[in-house]
Amino acid sequence: MPMGHTATQQAGSGGLKATEHRLANGLRVVLSEDHLTPVAALCLWYDVGSRHEVKGRTGLAHLFEHLMFQGSSQVTGNGHFELVQGAGGSLNGTTSFERTNYFETMPAHQVELALWLEADRMGSLLTALDEESLENQRDVVKNERRQRYDNVPYGTAFEKLIAMAYPEDHPYHHTPIGSMADLDAASLEDAREFFRTYYAPNNAVLSIVGDIDPEQTLAWIEKYFGTIPSHEGKRPPRDGTLPDVIGGQLREVVEEEVPARALMAAYRLPHDGTREADAADLALTVLGGGESSRLHNRLVRRDRTAVAAGFGLLRLAGAPSLGWLDVKTSGGVEVPGIEAAVDEELARFAAEGPTPQEMERAQAQIEREWLDRLATVGGRADELCRFSVLFGDPQLALTAVNRVLDITAEEVRAVAAARLRPDNRAVLVYEPVQGADAADDTDQTDAAEAADTDAEGEAAQ
């Protein structure tokens, strides 16, 4: 039975239409017109991420992403940044487990420049890539790792959870930032080989969204990208398939100089792109998304044992997705009591499922998150690329909200019963220690954010 929550007009496909094209060299192109504001976003997803990395070279995909901003045949030094910013555009690149994306949002009359720039580096990066850039960006990335993970309290929690939830030798066992030792070991030849293997028009999707003339835009794409040769050098990622459940509870206690005890856990969840993943998204939202969630109400409001308690979802297509529980304890509260309360809430939810009101709230929250994503041309371009690269069909982006709204309470209950169980989780407990024994220090970062790592960090203001 429908639970009473209806999509708002724009949540479905109302504001978004897309056309698909393919160049002779295999480059897939998605275009979507929107003339409300004189801006256009260009997004280019390469089907390569940290899951393609091999042992001893973790972090290479992300380090390589930085090198893509160091110039190519016709673009000198930092020219990519300079030209885009000088044209009134904004830009960045990010690397995750399953893809590397590059994006420019431009004033509408400058789209051609962004296409020229992306084509130049797709076709000719290696003519400019040198040891000096590599050494410099290696240091920049190591400082990115220190700033975002090593020098903040709980900063390496996500990395530790991932390492437990995906076994040794699994392609998702390590996070995109990579290890310091592997970053040190990466050579210029590794970078060249990486480019030759994965950076090709037939391993990429280009989307352009906004105030564009589709015919003119396609002509430009053909002009700039059309002669870049395709190649079949790509090695498929190692198989990420795993059993549905871990089959036991993994546990690690970390003693570090952190401000408070914490209970974190990673649950193995269904692959992205399935109904079960959408059901899991709803389950995690009811249990741990926002201020009216069950865990917030229980731990923060009623028991008052936690400062913050919530669930995040890392959607993955090539391996089981990951549900990330994060509870920071209040005052001197011990972890076992909190863990028992979490287990009690999860068990009750698995037995009873969500109430109609909870379903309505969770669906409304997820719908608004979608509206936020689609409120910018950049957000839309990124979603079109995502569904193209991961699921082979950009049109699925247009109906994503409707699929979430179509999920029933029973499906939500069922996925919780099957997956949100103690024998399907990796648990990380933080015990604070004083001073010198501490390795790391913290910050609270959600799962999706921690999985992304970008070229230009925004310094805190």
């Binding site: 004189p38 930092n78 430009w220 408070a260």
Partner: protein, 469 residues
Amino acid sequence: MSDAVTATMTFHPQPQGGAPKPWAFPAPERGELSNGLTVLRCHRPGQQVIAVEINLDAPLDTEPAGLEGVATIMARALSEGTDKHTAEEFAAELERCGATLDAHADHPGLRVSLEVPVSRLPKGLGLLADALRAPAFPDGEIERLVANRLDEIPHELANPARRASVTLAKELFPAESRMSRPRQGTEETIEGIDAAAVRAFYEAHIRPSTATAVIVGDLAGVDLDQALADTLGAWTGGPPPQRTVPPIVGDDTGRVVIVDRPGAVQTQLLIGRIGADRHDRVWPAQVLGTYCLGGTLTSRLDRVLREEKGYTYGVRAFGQVLRSTPPSPAGGGSAGASLLAISGSVATEVTGPALEDLWTVLRTLKEEGLTDAERDVAVQNLVGVAPLKYETAAAVAGTLADQVEQHLPDDFQAQLYARLADAGTVEATAAVVSAFPADRLVTVLVGDASRIAEPVKALGIGEVSVITG
């Protein structure tokens, strides 16, 4: 193989771009409800999530002495139950609308932000109005918020960037100034806050006659007048309270404070002083010059510290308005000020060399000035990105609300773009050199004192003191 790839791709000259399409920062429509609430509305076609920003005139310096943090607790308590809903019900009702409601207290006043899909705007406005009009401030919820806030403080102090910020404020401003103390209070002051204190603060400051609602989004199918009359229009309150605004003064004697973090792998830097706010005529040139100094990865600081030396993931220079006052009728400008600062983090072992390079960048800037090319690129970026930056309703609403809070005209941002384009290289140089004088900057370093103190002392950028982290 790469050579083969290069050889077969056809290269074309860099395209020059078409003619820019006109775009202007949106002009809001200003009005007033019968209860005295000022309303700014702005229709942005296609923006389905409506952004509502409420400015409440309750500056932090009006908090009673010893109760610093009461404005923060009150802001949070607005959504902890009303005359219609308990705290849990209120949170549930908001989420049922797909809405988010955030409130925070800062030096100029309180801000409450609602975002809600347009289809549920009337419902969302109703909840917002309840929170402003009839907050319940239940004893139990206030106790919980106080306890929660006390739990948050150690997390903030553990964060190097937050810690640097708290330390800089303490150094820069005189002890009697509210600005010298953490915006959200300290453990000592938070402990003394109860429901009575929260209610007293609410009664003293929160009323429609000194509040402004900024509403931005696709309002085409909405009867906003009716929705407002039914919700925020029902809010009542007394006349504006009388208040005086203390001047902002800062001690920018060049010096260094190290917050000791044994074992830290990076040093967090925050280097700052106070300077002009948006009322000052120098503002556009200061924005321009600050961008050239440290606005992006290709600005002067990162060009050296990141892209040449690899010392950092990124260092930024910025100006952030602390508080402004209405311009005096005599034309004397505002008594407001901004925090002007440079922030970032650098690897521990290169802290000395990184600061040396940073100071060299500042001195070179003073000696040689900006180049015309640098100034031009900065203008092209700052003006050119405006349509991108203001794509969403929330971005437009945020800037309009900032203008209200800073006593600026509604067309300030729109005019700023023309003024940026008019600011020349000489003006931008003068503005940034005067904003960041090499000998009048307070430097806070959060890092391992045993490894960084000596190299930093050797730089001669001021007396170095070490405090416990």
